[in-house]
Symmetry: C2
Subunit: 331 residues, 2 copies
């Protein structure tokens, strides 16, 4: 294992410390327990947004803390859920008096720990609502999940719910907007090469030099099937068609198309995939009205990508377009 780390047990601490130094204008980093809070939080009169999950998926979630998106993020250890004793104070730090929305990716550990933290925060008099992101169409249940996994669709959920909170929506409304995004977003991914979790020291799975895995999870969990390496256009079709079918995208609709890198794939290749995915959307008579291409929900240095489609309506589009100022998204 060759990684730019010191002690494997300290990777998250040191990385989040570095992140906090670079982005001191946007975030404050709390240690012991670790969580990241937007500068100026809690914002009085605004619904607070908190998300979190295992580290190793950067820039998710800390990279999305800032104006127009999250108020706090709670990074766990690598590929490990954050604990309630970190989520609870992050929830307090995000609470501006109108309650807090927890945005949770659907993994059993995350769901349980956010639930316990919500109970702790509610005991302190903070109203908490929770939404669970489950956009991955590849598998129905997985190693770590009852129901579909939450993957790159988390980005539009956090962006759009964040914009709704920023414009002054109440907790029920922000939660309803988040649920609307969740109901209309689907993702599927592919891995070309595995990643290595530092404390494990060996790749999380093995692929031969000729194999790729369609439907991979963001922790390297098994997907639908392994196939021989294929041209990008064919791989993109295997990811995009199930996503469009599951959503039932048809002519005249407008979508957001997100091609997300898993961390170790060159940006140039993500644009090749985007080009192919966009043609598939357009072949259905739908329009790609908004796009995002880059590394947003990664799996350390895994090579591969995912394709996410969100069905847009006028309100979701306006909330997507609303100003955002975070480390990883800014406009």
């Amino acid at each position: 294992m060759k990684k730019l780390i010191n002690d494997p047990a300290r990777v998250t601490d040191e990385s989040v410390e570095g992140f906090g130094l670079v982005h001191a204008d946007l975030v404050t980093v709390h240690t012991d327990p670790i969580f990241v809070v937007r500068v100026g939080a809690p914002v009085a009169g605004k619904v607070g947004l908190v998300s979190g999950g295992g580290s190793g998926h950067e820039p998710l979630h800390a990279g999305f803390v800032g104006v127009g998106m999250l108020d706090a993020a709670v990074p766990g250890a690598m590929f490990t859920s954050p604990t309630p004793d970190a989520i609870a104070p992050a929830t307090v730090a995000a609470n501006g008096g109108r309650g807090v929305l927890h945005i949770v990716k659907n993994y059993t550990g995350d769901v349980l720990n956010f639930e316990t933290a919500a109970e702790l925060a509610e005991a302190d008099g903070i109203e908490v609502r929770t939404v669970v992101v489950n956009d991955d169409v590849a598998v129905q249940d997985s190693l770590y999940t009852a129901g579909r996994r939450g993957v790159a669709g988390t980005v539009p959920v956090e962006k759009i719910a964040g914009a709704a909170a920023e414009r002054g929506d109440d907790l029920a409304s922000v939660a309803a907007i988040a649920e609307r995004v969740i109901a209309n977003v689907r993702t599927m991914g592919v891995a070309l090469e595995a990643c290595t979790v530092p404390h494990a020291g060996v790749p999380s799975f093995d692929l031969t030099d000729e194999e790729i895995e369609i439907g991979i999870g963001i922790h390297g969990e098994p997907g639908r099937h392994r196939i021989p390496m294929a041209p990008a256009d064919e791989i993109t079709e295997m990811l995009t068609t199930p996503v469009l079918d599951d959503l039932g995208i048809s002519g005249g609709e407008q979508v957001l198309l997100l091609v997300n890198g898993m961390g170790g794939t060159p940006l140039s290749e993500l644009y090749v995939v985007y080009r192919a995915a966009r043609k598939l959307v357009e072949a259905r008579g739908a329009t790609v009205a908004r796009s995002l291409v880059g590394n947003y929900v990664t799996s350390l240095e895994m090579q591969g990508c995912s394709v996410t489609v969100l069905r847009l309506d006028d309100e979701l589009t306006a909330l997507w377009d609303a100003p955002v100022h975070t480390a990883a998204l800014r406009w």
Copy 2:
């Protein structure tokens, strides 16, 4: 070789086409020959900025086309200089009547091809000045270079010269600002794993499971020495100290610190390196006044990073802070 591509000979075309579709609000993509032009260019009365080089280093250079940075970028084939017949029309497209600055990374092919293109443009009555970026302190001459190589220091050169052009400086002044950045910026990189150029099909060099290469170039050209894998803090010291020494950074100075990923290294690790590099700057009594961490000048999926330091003064800081709206840098 497993890559998200179709025909290796068409990677750059398809990737740039995808890039143009995503960023149609910022750029127009010309084909045959390929170059990328800022929407609205040429900007009347503004000095035009053109850069380019082999593909495989994305987001460099096309990702830096837009308001406050480049007017045009010319991507060559993978790791191959663009040809004069592409650079010349890009120069014409960037010319708003006050001349064009060519920003060239110091590789023999790039220098020659931009020189020929400048002659072609001048024959058309366009005044062209050229600056050559040579920030890599690792080696004096290299496989492809007489003198130091141009690497991640290209980002602040393009950003700061772009801001000078945007505020209305004339060609000589924009060139002088670019030269001031070049005189005050240095970089050194490390590779943990090689990358594979699509048309070659095999890794550009071999490292054992225990080896890393200090001072690597962005095409995998040899650096200073190979050493056994070491903790991130030690590797960072091997990169940062030569950079600070070469610049002669001392107490009381202000610097920009850029930790650049080579493409295949997780963002979390770049923050670990940043944390260590910042301590080394501060140990000299200098201040990290501005920071940038991410994948900006990559080598396909190479694993590794580089550390860049730019000595700041008030004017360079103000130009760095000036608004920029490109695919890869925006504030």
